[in-house]
Every structure is written in structure tokens, then in C-alpha cells.
């Protein structure tokens, strides 16, 4: 009895392995010949592809979600800031620079930033937003608060569309003045390479001051750079 039971599992193992081998040999044969197996493999491939696509879609959904949350985060403070004075910083030089050569870029743009800083230093109470954007690249090189970079780049698209529409890319400076709701004026001074965006609180700064004092001051300071 003992021997019988002891030998039996061995036999079973052998049988199993034989079965496996047989199955292997059949499947090897079928790999190339059986159409069902070919179909099976294509289905497997398709499933894999679908699975990969699902992963990509999920990732895209996540990105979209975070983008909308960023946008609402940006929109809300911007809307609130219209009636509030933007927080003052000592230098007000929050430049967006992604490269490692931050200092070089900052030095390169700093004269243009100085033009704006010098022109608005006495009238900051009436200014809700100020920024400088490079026309060709639509890159914001200066803004007063971090929430304004998005705002300025959206406006940048419009400026490029506008310049294309009027077909004027000349070096002559020109301005745009938009009377906005909520007692605001948007003043955009366009130069050949940069444009300066200034959002004005009409209750604290008159449009006469903008056009008769600020505008000539900006142009004078900018032209002085060219002479240097």
C-alpha cells in the first residue's frame, strides 16, 4: 500500500508533464498554422493597445483637470485684483525665465523694464497691472504679480492678430486704448520689439494723464535706450 501510494504521485507527475509537453507541441504547431490562435494574438495586441490608449487618456484627463484648476486659480485673483492695488515688492522684477542663464536674460531685458518702472513710479496708485511682452515670442518679460503672466500672454495673441490685420510691423510706436467696464482703461503701447500693457483705474488716474504724460514719458525713455 505504502509503495503504491508512493509511486502513484510520481506517475501522475509524469502524466502531467507528458500532457504539458503534448500541449506545448500542439500550441507550437498551432502558433503558425491555427487561424484561431492568430486571431487570439491579434485580439491580445488590440487589447494591449486599448489599454495603453486608456492610460494615455487618463493622463490627459488628469492634465486637463489640473489645467482648469490652475486657470480658475489664475482667474480668481485677477478678477479680485482689478479693484485692489497689486502688492508692492521692492524690485517688482518677477521675470519668467526658464533657462539657467537667468541673470544674463534679466540683464538683457532690464533696460526695457527700467523704462516702465521709471515711467510709472509716480502714478502707481492708478495702475492695476503693468507688464512687458516680447511681440515675436509672446514671452512675458516683466509683470507686477505672478497671476498676470497668463493674462498678458492672452493679450499678446491679440496684439499679434491685430498687427497682422492692420499689416503694420513697422518700427513706429503706436498705442491702443480700450475703455473697459468697471471704470478701467487698458493702455497698450506698442514698440517694434516689445509692448507695454498698463491697466488703469480710472478713479485714480485720468486718461488725460495717461495720454499726455505717461505716453510721452514711455516713448522718451524707450527711445533713449536706442540712443545709448
Amino acid at each position: 500500500m505504502w509503495n503504491f501510494f508512493k509511486k502513484e504521485p510520481k506517475k501522475q507527475v509524469k502524466k502531467k508533464s507528458l500532457k504539458k509537453e503534448r500541449h506545448k507541441s500542439i500550441s507550437k504547431k498551432n502558433k503558425t498554422s491555427n487561424p484561431l490562435d492568430v486571431l487570439d494574438r491579434t485580439l491580445d495586441k488590440k487589447l494591449k493597445e486599448i489599454h495603453e490608449q486608456k492610460i494615455i487618456l487618463d493622463k490627459q484627463k488628469d492634465i486637463k483637470k489640473s489645467a482648469t484648476s490652475i486657470k480658475t486659480h489664475i482667474d480668481k485673483p485677477a478678477a479680485i485684483n482689478f479693484k485692489q492695488k497689486p502688492p508692492k515688492t521692492s524690485n517688482e522684477k518677477s521675470i519668467i525665465v526658464t533657462s539657467d542663464k537667468k541673470e544674463t536674460v534679466q540683464t538683457y531685458h532690464s533696460p526695457f523694464i527700467k523704462v516702465l518702472s521709471n515711467s510709472i513710479q509716480d502714478i502707481e496708485d492708478g495702475i492695476l497691472l503693468a507688464g512687458i511682452t516680447e511681440i515675436q515670442t509672446n514671452k512675458v518679460i516683466f509683470q507686477k504679480t505672478s497671476t498676470q503672466a497668463y493674462t498678458l500672454s492672452v493679450l499678446g495673441n491679440f496684439i499679434n492678430q491685430y498687427l497682422n490685420l492692420i499689416d503694420d510691423h513697422s518700427s513706429k510706436e503706436k498705442f491702443l486704448l480700450i475703455h473697459l467696464e468697471k471704470d478701467m482703461f487698458l493702455y497698450i503701447q506698442i514698440f517694434k520689439r516689445y509692448y507695454y500693457t498698463i491697466l488703469i483705474d480710472q478713479n485714480n488716474l485720468s486718461i488725460g494723464h495717461v495720454l499726455n504724460i505717461l505716453k510721452p514719458e514711455l516713448i522718451k525713455n524707450y527711445n533713449n535706450l536706442k540712443l545709448k
Binding site: I74, D75, A78, A79, F82, Y150, T151, L152, V154, L155, N157, F158, Q161, Y162, L165, I166, D168, S170, K172, K174, F175, L176, L177, I178, H179, L180, E181, K182, M184, L186, L199, I207, G208, L211
Partner: protein, 125 residues
């Protein structure tokens, strides 16, 4: 809309600007076609209709308030374009002005409000 009064409104603007008005057009927003004007320029009308559309979209996208009464563009050869907005009525009134012949105070504080009033009177008649 009283067309006769609308033409009178254009004449009022011309008088107020005292020779500085180079051209003007009143057009339906979105259509870009004029219903009255002086030295009319259909291409300019269509173009400024598009500029307004781009501008409003950009302002909205940037989270800014919408255009209120007008916008002003400085152009080459001492020309200045002012585009009045009649959002509720669905019209725009564009004018090209010689900035050497009229000062901004006269333009924005006298000519523009008078033109706005005259248009609304014609529209509501």
C-alpha cells in the same frame, strides 16, 4: 431706426471734428456691413469688425472686463481710429481722424459723447 436721423448724426460728428474726420462708418456688429457713413470704406468696416471681435475675445480670455464705450487705436500717418460700441443695439461706429487737426480732449469729451447721443436717438426713433 431712423435713417434720416442717423445721417444727421454723421453730420454732427463731422461738424464737431471740424475737418479732422477722414472717414466714418456705422455698421452692424458681426455683419461688418455699413448702414451709414462718410467717405465710406467697406474694407475698413469689415476689418474693424474683426478687430473688435478679436479684442473682446482676448479680453474675455484674459479675465478682463468687456469693452465699455469705445476703443482707440493710433495708426500711421497721424491717423487715429476710434470705434464706438453699442453693444445692446448690436452696432459699432468707427471713425478715422487726423490727429494733427483735433486734440484728444475734443475728440473724447465732445465729439464722441455727442455722436453716441445722436446715434441712440436715431436708433430709438
Amino acid at each position: 431706426m431712423n435713417v434720416k436721423k442717423l445721417k444727421e448724426a454723421v453730420n454732427v460728428l463731422n461738424e464737431n471734428l471740424d475737418g479732422a474726420l477722414l472717414a466714418t462708418d456705422i455698421w452692424g456688429t458681426g455683419t461688418g456691413t455699413a448702414i451709414a457713413g462718410y467717405n465710406q470704406n467697406p474694407q475698413a468696416t469689415a476689418l474693424f469688425d474683426k478687430v473688435t471681435d478679436y479684442m473682446r475675445k482676448a479680453l474675455k480670455g484674459a479675465g478682463f472686463p468687456d469693452i465699455k464705450d469705445y476703443y482707440l487705436l493710433e495708426m500711421e500717418n497721424n491717423a487715429m481710429a476710434v470705434v464706438l460700441q453699442f453693444k445692446e443695439e448690436g452696432f459699432q461706429w468707427g471713425m478715422l481722424v487726423d490727429s494733427n487737426k483735433v486734440n484728444l480732449g475734443m475728440l473724447l469729451n465732445i465729439a464722441v459723447p455727442a455722436a453716441r447721443k445722436a446715434f441712440l436717438e436715431a436708433y430709438n426713433d
